[in-house]
């Protein structure tokens, strides 16, 4: 044997995995039949939908506001730049759970929300409790918090674009906004997209914090069920599997989006894992190994 250490390590991994699987399969307290019963129950699926809605809307707010904050941060106007810095500082420096509780209790601070001119006439007026529903509070907290992180990601992306690109655009008479939208941001994407994927996956799980303000998302939905039937573990497993499924879907999506954006400007895309497996199987069967296709150049 050339690598005895590897065989020992592999044996240990196999043994431990077998033990784990055996325990999961045979320990009756996992109550797999109950997991099965509730996996597709309406209340769980409704909760799942709300979790996905929270994720999408919060990320949309986070990305949109994050881009604005990043552009503000890079503005030559110091007041605008500092305002963006303060925003990022504030939201990153407070726990998101605290922010969620804060937004859900906003009516204690501002019982009525009104739109109008400062010190002048008011145009409209609402009760805060009517407008800031628990769902809205959750979206606000998650979205505004996310914007602070997205701002830093977008800023890094913008800074990664060569200064010469901006100068070339300006020398052609493009305005600052045109340059940003048409030249800088599209090229910043390859730097922005991978961490944005991470943020989205992270957001999917962070939405579970909103359970504390009684939004019936996935976690709170199963909590409501096990509060009645006391099947805590099986129901937490139900929620976990759903989180696993959707984070996996998002990871795969992230892979394809990244692949698309990082190779614009060069002709060939790298192989996907599926393509690689297919090619390997094929060449294995024919015992002739083709040199692997062109390496994607710098784009």
């Amino acid at each position: 044997m050339r690598h005895p250490g590897r065989w020992v390590a592999a044996a240990i991994v196999v043994l431990l995995s077998a033990a784990l699987i055996a325990s999961i399969a045979t320990n009756p307290r996992f109550e797999w039949s109950i997991v099965g019963d509730y996996f597709f129950s309406t209340r769980v699926l409704d909760g799942l939908v709300i979790t996905l809605e929270l994720t999408v809307v919060s990320m949309a707010i986070g990305i949109a506001l994050g881009i604005v904050l990043a552009v503000m941060r890079l503005s030559p106007n110091p007041l605008v730049s500092v305002a963006s810095w303060v925003y990022v500082w504030f939201f990153r420096a407070t726990p998101v759970l605290v922010q969620i509780l804060f937004w859900s209790n906003i009516s204690a601070l501002y019982p009525r929300l009104s739109l109008g001119i400062p010190f002048g006439p008011q145009l409209t007026d609402f009760s805060a409790n009517d407008v800031i529903t628990p769902f809205a509070a959750g979206v606000l907290a998650l979205g505004l918090n996310e914007a602070a992180y997205m701002a830093e990601i977008v800023r890094a992306g913008i800074l990664s674009v060569e200064e010469g690109q901006v100068e070339a655009a300006q020398s052609l008479g493009m305005t600052r906004l045109q340059t940003m939208r048409r030249i800088v941001l599209p090229q910043a994407m390859r730097v922005i997209i991978p961490p944005t994927g991470n943020e989205t996956i992270s957001m999917l799980k962070t939405t579970s914090l909103v359970s504390v303000i009684a939004v019936t998302e996935l976690l709170y939905s199963v909590q409501l069920i096990y509060a009645v039937n006391f099947q805590t573990i099986p129901l937490l497993i139900v929620a976990s599997i759903w989180y696993l499924i959707f984070t996996t879907v998002l990871s795969i999506g992230q892979y394809y989006v990244e692949r698309r954006f990082s190779h614009r400007g060069s002709r060939d895309l790298p192989e996907t894992p599926f393509q690689r497996i297919r090619r390997n199987l094929f060449s294995f069967r024919h015992a002739t190994v083709e040199p692997s296709g062109g390496s994607g150049g710098s784009g």
Binding site: G164, A168, S171, Q178, G265, S266, G297
Partner: protein, 254 residues
């Protein structure tokens, strides 16, 4: 005689405490080709960038085609132009960079039609027709759908020239257009520039390409330490330089 295309009077520019331009004065007539020589750090590129307001000047006056660069004069006072006006003025001046600066995420054709369609509002079909024609003239008719990363440096620089020309500028600025090229690729870019000069384009060329300066320039300027120290027609300039500094510089690079 019409007003000069470019006129500078005592132009000063500092970056922090580093004074780069220390009173540059010169005139470039319409249709003239002027080459600017000088050691690195002498302020050649900075001066070029001041002409299309990529850099703001600290003192002095700078006119392009009779109007101040980046400012407006009224009642004996000087007002800064709004961004949109600065952009409008820049659109009339083409600039070619040492590092090409083609838009990396756009094909050759998209690079050339971007500014005409977005800045001037030229209809797309018209912009494509003109771009195709221009790219044909710089010998790249077969590269329309190629991305910049797949082109050689010489090809990229020719696209960059076509991109600048697509805006139909009245003045072209070249900032060391051949300095980043492999020696065997310099010729193809110089050829394009020479033809442009023959077509009557007003050109200011910062270059180390002495052959181009000698054959094509109407006038050669020598800059050193933020000032223009000598100028003259190329024959006189190269064969009988007057300033000691010019002689030194020429002896090193010829």
């Amino acid at each position: 005689m019409s007003a000069p295309m470019v006129r500078a009077e005592g132009v000063y520019k500092s970056f922090g405490r580093l004074e780069v331009l220390k009173g540059v004065s010169l005139e470039v007539q319409q249709g003239e080709v002027v080459c600017v020589l000088g050691p690195s750090g002498s302020g050649k590129s900075t001066f070029l960038r001041c002409i299309n307001h990529l850099e703001k000047i600290d003192a002095g006056r700078l006119w392009v085609d009779g109007s101040l660069v980046g400012y407006r004069e009224a009642d004996g006072k000087i007002y800064e132009l709004r961004d949109s006006e600065v952009c409008r003025k820049r659109a009339q001046i083409g600039m070619v960079f040492q590092r090409f600066n083609l838009f990396a995420h756009r094909t050759v054709l998209e690079n050339v039609i971007e500014a005409p369609t977005r800045v001037k509002g030229v209809p797309r079909t018209e912009a494509v027709a003109r771009a195709t024609d221009l790219l044909g003239r710089v010998g790249l008719a077969d590269k329309l759908d190629t991305y910049p990363a797949q082109l050689s440096g010489g090809q990229q620089q020719r696209v960059a020239i076509a991109r600048a020309l697509a805006m139909q500028p009245k003045l072209m600025l070249f900032d060391e257009p051949t300095s980043a090229l492999d020696p065997e690729l310099v010729g193809e870019v110089v050829d394009v520039m020479r033809r442009l000069a023959q077509d009557g384009m007003t050109m200011i060329v910062v270059t180390h390409e002495m052959g181009f300066a000698r054959e094509t320039a109407d006038r050669v300027l020598m800059m050193d330490d933020g000032r223009v120290i000598e100028e003259g027609p190329p024959d006189r300039f190269f064969d009988a330089p007057r300033e000691e500094r010019t002689k030194q510089f020429l002896s090193k690079i010829l």
